[in-house]
């Protein structure tokens, strides 16, 4: 059968036009991006100020190539359509027409950017500043988008309340921060010192416990009711002694640092206090998400696809209102500790200075670390494997002995932990939030997840950063007011759905899903 088709194809020169037009679309996107990047590079002064006049020729060349490319595409498109019409094939040509429209769209956008940038002559310092802003935003979006993608990959539902989970993380972090500040009677550093004085001995004490041995023993006790052995009793007696010893050591180290190395001491207490804030945010988000799964989603697991979505919208409204009644309608403010406040200037010689905020650097690094951890977790750990198997086929996974409920709860918890971290980081970046500030970022993070192909973990990471960059750079490049940056983000969503419904990297779909 296949050979017959192939020979038929060869006779009619009947190529796979859909795939060809897909490649045509991709190449067009690359050409347009090349043109945009080149224009930006030339006008912003990276290639020397004032730029070599010959460099403008390259740009004209790129513009002409894109134009010719579009024209050739039109001819090819018409030829294919005419051919199909003549042979009266009953094939839908929508896809190739849409792909062609996409290339035309790229052409228009590229020329718009070229004219705007040419007229404005934006210096590289501005671009750089927006680039760093975009990266910070992108880190936050990527973390939240991972939550959407993980849940979608397993349950095929949009967790509409994820934006609320995000801002609950911000709120949890805010409460922790306020608590720390109140401990230090107004200053963060004093509060951080006292909370570290409590947390540090606790943590060191816990690390002194024979954790692995305890875990195996507890596991044994749960599985088989055996009589308590003498070593078990010995361990039981030695536990408090070990803990107290560890706590003493921790306390001593802290005091010694405070006395002899105050710089390290300051760094240490700030890091511990910040971690406390982040963990509070993560914990809040996680608990809420687990409760949400239990109350609003689990009873609907076998219902039609869109039923959980309505339930999720309801849950999201309940959370918003609860937050309004707890936090009040006013803005709440984050304060940055002295250590992470301020900017690091990045000097570019005579091109200017890009002030990069320390918070921004920390956010981007921390989000990348979290993403790498998540990737390793999903790929390497036992639970990660279970998650992947459930995403592939729930029923078969259950037959293989995977506890579906546990995996789903775990997925929600991981997504929420990432969102909680993102929420706290968003708080430190924007410095203020209110009960409503989860909705728009949540929607944008969903856009990011769709951009990368929903259900696709690396896709969500890429989509988050891409969306952040587009949102930060788009208003300058297209010459529209910054108030419309949300419009750009949502417009991007619509465009992606029109031209690449499966996202840039493609949706991870198994046979059973659709």
């Amino acid at each position: 059968m296949a050979e017959v088709t192939r020979t038929r194809r060869l006779e009619h020169l009947d190529l796979d036009y859909e795939a060809l037009s897909g490649n045509y679309f991709t190449l067009g996107a690359l050409l347009a991006s090349a043109r945009i990047l080149w224009v930006i590079a030339r006008t912003s002064g990276v290639l020397g100020t004032p730029p070599d006049p010959n460099l403008a020729n390259v740009e004209t060349l790129l513009a002409n190539v894109l134009l010719v490319y579009t024209g050739l595409g039109l001819i090819a498109l018409l030829a294919v359509l005419a051919g199909r019409m003549r042979r009266e094939e009953n094939v839908s040509s929508t896809r190739i027409i849409i792909n062609y429209a996409g290339v035309v769209f790229f052409l228009l956008v590229a020329s718009r950017v070229a004219t705007v940038v040419e007229a404005e002559q934006v210096p590289i310092a501005v671009w750089g500043l927006q680039l760093t802003n975009g990266l910070v935003l992108g880190g936050v979006y990527a973390l939240v988008a991972l939550g959407y993608t993980l849940v979608y990959g397993i349950l095929f539902m949009i967790n509409f309340a994820h934006g609320e989970v995000l801002v609950l993380g911000t709120a949890g972090g805010w409460f922790a921060l306020t608590y720390i500040t109140s401990l230090g009677s107004g200053t963060f550093e004093d509060g951080a010192a006292s909370i570290t004085g409590f947390l540090m001995p606790l943590i060191v004490g816990i690390t002194f416990l024979p954790l692995e041995g305890l875990a195996t023993r507890l596991g044994k006790r749960r599985s088989a009711e055996t009589g308590t052995s003498t070593t078990w009793i010995l361990t039981l007696f030695s536990l408090p002694a070990r803990f107290i010893l560890g706590a003493l050591i921790g306390y001593a180290v802290l005091q010694a640092l405070g006395g002899f190395a105050p710089h390290i001491y300051i760094v240490l207490i700030t890091v511990v206090a910040l971690l406390f804030v982040v963990f509070s945010g993560m914990l809040t988000s996680m608990l809420v998400a687990i409760g949400l799964e239990r109350v609003a989603y689990r009873p609907l697991r076998r219902a039609p696809r869109l039923t959980p979505l309505i339930s999720a919208i309801g849950a999201s409204f309940f959370l918003q209102q609860a937050m309004l009644n707890i936090l009040g309608p006013q803005q709440r403010f984050y304060t940055r500790p002295r250590l992470i406040d301020g900017t690091i200037p990045l000097r570019l010689g005579d091109l200017g200075v890009i002030p990069i905020t320390r918070t921004g650097i920390i956010i981007v690094l921390f989000s990348i670390v979290l993403m790498v951890l998540l990737y390793l977790f999903v790929q390497r750990s036992k639970m990660g494997r279970a998650m992947r198997s459930v995403a592939e086929d729930k029923d078969t996974a259950a037959l293989m002995g995977v506890d579906i409920d546990q995996v789903i709860v775990f997925t929600f918890a991981i997504g929420a932990v990432l969102a909680g971290a993102a929420g706290v980081m968003m708080g430190f970046h924007n410095l203020s939030f209110n009960w409503r500030s989860g909705f728009i970022p949540g929607l944008k993070a969903f856009t990011a997840a769709v951009l990368g192909g929903i259900g696709n973990i690396p896709g969500a990471m890429f989509g988050g950063f891409f969306l952040g960059l587009v949102e930060a750079l788009g208003p300058i490049a297209l010459g529209i007011p910054t108030e419309y940056k949300d419009v750009i983000a949502f417009g991007l969503l619509v465009l992606v759905l029109i031209f690449r419904p499966t996202g840039i990297f493609g949706e991870v779909l198994s046979e059973k899903k659709v």
Binding site: I98, M157, I158, V295, A296, P299, L300, R301, R302, A303, P304, R305, L306, T307, P308, L309, I310, S311, I313, G314, A315, S316, F317, F318, L319, Q320, Q321, A322, N325, F439, I440, L443, F446, T447, V450, P481, E483, Y484, D486, V487, F490, G491, L493, V494, L497, I498, P501, V514
Partner: protein, 586 residues
């Protein structure tokens, strides 16, 4: 075969609808309706129209639309801009609003309609946000920024006061009468028509008072409605004729006796509701220019008229070829495609019709409130519209009415209500009786034990408040009763002898409350009085959505199934068969 295929459509009776309409017509004149409540009724009426329009998209075609407020807003802004900047009479902007809203819907949804439902949902949310942001930032400089637009015109139209309008009304009344009685014999059909027509013209012309035509029109309407009611109750032609003559005579008698006062009353009401200018004569017909005043009652009837139009239109639409196509697409898209239905086209039509009609509601909104601001069209409004449809029962018209009552009217009426009934008067007793009655009903198979438990719970419920003299402690008691019943249900599965546990828990509860409850009372009553429903409206709406999806996924008043529905074999292994079961048997 008869068992496998069941014809489930019941013959419809118009009695309900006529009664409801009569109630709606009389509503503004009822004693409990003050100015603000009439205004609320107009607002709710606009939401009914929005719900009905969204029902086309969500209910009939089964698509998700969470940006309906944007199309509502498009209609309102179109009307306001045309009315303010170009001076067009506001009701005349309806066709343009339809074009703008429907066209926008087609433009936005056409490229993504073939995608899965959840994508569509997110894109409509995104569109709603884009609309709100654009309008807030004064896009094209015509939307007035975040303050919105002021001074949209009120509805105005020339009221022809003389011959043509009464004649047209009479023609409509007679046509309705003739159509309705076509099976009741020529005496009722033509004789009745003659009686109506005579009485109609006799009174105003005989007494030479033209405003009495209003009374004649009312008489005609009453006669037609009464005839319809009698027919749906299968009254004989003779009874119908007698009733008709009785109505006409009663009206005639009343009018002749009080002609003076009635004429004065009509003229006064006209002046009160409308700005009535002096009549002008165009082509031999007297026209009286009329504009609506701030009184909400004329708007009420205007909106009511639109609602009736919408309901009739929606019902015709639902039973049309298009409506059936929507049904098939909603139930099984693959099968619908196999039957040769162009699914994308059908969905697009649903979106266009629903959004266009939301635009009409927007025009009404602009004409009533004369201020159009972005905050009236935000995401919350979209969700309220969506939950009106989903909670009421998607696809069902009564469901939309019930949903609007629950989502728009009830919260406003309860705006300042505090649930003090939980500890005042007979309230606690009633609540406890309801809880225990529900429990006993579910525990019928082991009634003695359940009665014992109920008695113990009741004793623990009444003891602390009565002994301490703190009625507010009943609030704790209600919570205790609920928790206890859940705990009993759990315990029963675990242990065989649970009664000691229950008794122990109740004893501990009573002792603790007696020991610590004295100071708890005032706090609780403060807390209950400080609770305002309005603060939690959106949250309660969310909870209602979650609960509804679990308990009754098809809504409060599910859509009546039309056509032939196969009776499916119930599968007990499915964890949630309720949805399927309801859909097949209702």
């Amino acid at each position: 075969m008869d068992q496998a295929l069941k014809y489930v459509r019941r013959p419809s009776s118009h009695l309900w609808e006529i009664g409801l309409l009569a109630l709606a017509l009389a509503l503004p004149y009822m004693s409990f309706m003050d100015r603000s409540r009439t205004s609320l009724a107009v607002f709710a009426g606009i939401y009914v129209m929005l719900g009905l329009s969204l029902n086309v998209i969500v209910g009939y075609a089964g698509l998700f639309q969470l940006g309906h407020a944007a199309f509502f807003g498009l209609g309102a802004y179109t009307a306001a801009i045309l009315s303010i900047d170009y001076g067009i009479t506001i009701l005349a902007t309806i066709p343009i609003a339809i074009l703008v809203a429907g066209g926008a819907a087609v433009l936005v949804t056409k490229p993504i309609l073939h995608l899965r439902g959840d994508y569509l949902c997110i894109v409509t949310i995104a569109f709603g946000e884009i609309f709100r942001i654009a309008v807030t930032n004064n896009v094209f400089g015509i939307t007035g920024g975040s303050n919105g637009l002021f001074g949209a015109g009120r509805p105005e139209f020339p009221l022809p006061w003389l011959e043509p309008v009464p004649a047209i009304m009479l023609a409509i009344i007679l046509a309705l009468h003739l159509l309705g009685t076509r099976k009741s014999g020529p005496v009722l059909q033509w004789g009745g028509a003659a009686v109506i027509a005579t009485a109609y013209y006799l009174l105003p012309l005989g007494l030479d008072r033209k405003p009495l035509f209003v009374v004649s029109m009312a008489m005609g309407a009453v006669a037609v409605i009464a005839g319809a009611v009698l027919r749906s109750n299968r009254a004989s032609a003779r009874v119908q004729m007698i009733v008709l003559v009785g109505i006409v005579l009663a009206f005639a008698l009343g009018t002749v006796l009080g002609a003076e006062t009635i004429t004065g009353e009509i003229a006064y009401s006209m002046d009160e509701y409308f700005n009535v200018d002096d009549p002008t004569t165009i082509l031999g017909v007297e026209f009286t220019p009329v504009a609506f005043k701030r009184d909400a009652r004329p708007y009420y009837y205007l909106v009511l008229g639109f609602i009736v139009l919408t309901v009739v239109g929606m019902r015709r639409l639902q039973n049309s070829r298009l409506g059936r196509a929507w049904l098939y697409v909603r139930e099984d898209q693959l099968a619908a495609e196999a039957m040769g239905i162009d699914t994308t086209q059908i969905k697009l039509i649903a979106f266009a019709i629903g959004s266009a009609w939301a635009g009409v509601a927007g025009v009404l909104y602009a004409s009533r409130f004369t201020v159009v601001a972005p905050e009236s069209f935000n995401f919350l409004q979209s969700v309220i519209m969506f939950s009106i449809v989903v909670l009421g029962g998607s696809g069902s018209i009564p469901g939309v009415l019930v949903g609007t009552l629950g989502m728009v009217v009830l919260p406003e009426l309860l705006r300042d209500a505090a649930p003090t009934f939980m500890y005042e008067g007979a309230g606690p007793v009633v609540i406890l009786a309801l809880i225990l009655g529900f429990y006993l009903y579910h525990a019928q198979d082991r009634l003695p034990a359940a009665v014992l438990e109920s008695a113990a719970i009741a004793a623990a419920f009444f003891l602390p408040p009565l002994l301490l003299g703190e009625p507010a402690l009943y609030v704790v008691g209600i919570l205790m009763a609920l928790v206890m019943l859940i705990a009993i249900a759990r315990l029963r599965r675990r242990t065989a002898r649970y009664l000691p546990w229950v008794a122990g828990a109740l004893a501990v509860y009573t002792i603790v409350l007696l020991a610590a409850g004295g100071s708890l009372g005032p706090d609780l009553s403060d807390g209950v009085s400080g609770f305002r429903i309005m603060d939690w409206r959106d949250g309660l709406m969310g909870v209602a959505m979650v609960l509804m999806m679990m308990l009754r996924p098809a809504g409060l008043i599910p859509e009546r199934r039309r056509g032939i529905a196969p009776v499916t074999v119930e599968q007990p292994s499915e964890p949630i068969p309720t949805a399927a079961r309801q859909q097949t048997t209702v």
